[in-house]
Symmetry: C2
Subunit: 147 residues, 2 copies
């Protein structure tokens, strides 16, 4: 669904540009991750666990922007791969206590590198300073829009 010769009216609009740019970059990253058998949600979950762990599935889902119901299969997959350890939480028997395994930490570093490389390629028309500016502007949009 990549666009060619989009109409001026759209090409000038931030909403259109955001959608196009996000599409391209997201696709590049997803393709590279697929190349090593991973998915963007894998990366997000491992990254979240590296930062805050142990952690329940629901909380992990919220921090990754994934629906709780979809997190089930994701965690299942990550535990199968030996990247996440799952044990019942003794303090609250509804929950799991999820944490990164050593293999999971290595996998996270691998995925970090893949993502960084893909991102670098997708954003290659921008200088380092411009990327910082872009990140800053986008952060403002994302965090400033709690109406």
């Amino acid at each position: 669904m990549l666009t060619e010769d989009a109409p001026e009216r759209l090409r000038a609009q931030p909403a259109w540009l955001l959608a196009q740019a996000s599409r391209r970059v997201t696709r590049t990253v997803a393709d590279r991750l697929a190349g090593v058998g991973a998915h963007r949600t894998h990366h997000a979950a491992l990254a979240a666990l590296a930062e805050t762990s142990p952690c329940s599935q629901a909380s992990l889902a919220r921090r990754c922007g994934v629906d709780r119901s979809d997190m089930v299969a994701l965690v299942e997959r990550l535990t199968e791969d030996g990247h996440v350890a799952r044990e019942p939480d003794p303090d609250d028997r509804r929950r799991y206590r999820l944490s990164l395994t050593p293999a999971g930490e290595r996998r996270l570093r691998e995925l970090d590198a893949v993502v960084a490389a893909a991102q670098g390629d997708a954003l290659h028309p921008l200088s380092a300073a411009e990327r910082d500016w872009l990140a800053h502007l986008l952060t403002t949009v994302v965090h400033g829009s709690r109406r």
Copy 2:
């Protein structure tokens, strides 16, 4: 799937920020368009026709970033609504000649206004100058990434 307290590693990455920002803005625009019974593809198609017309379905699809197989139902809908006129192309009997009707031009102006307002709301944390910067950076990303 809106994120809360995303991990630092992700929050700092342009790819993640792009996806988040695009999600928010796109959703705001889509919701407002739904409020007047429209879809973002309706707006794109009308805008493309206003700029280049007459036009075949396949060409319209390419310029709107819509698959040509999905354009079938879209054009069907727009002609039902009386916003697009569809007639066989005498020069190439595989094609249609699509064009905007006067009602379609009015509808386009209405949707332009809705989209502009939604966009303005979604981007309200940014000043006018910052929006221009954002548009400029995103344009560079989108048009510069023909590797």
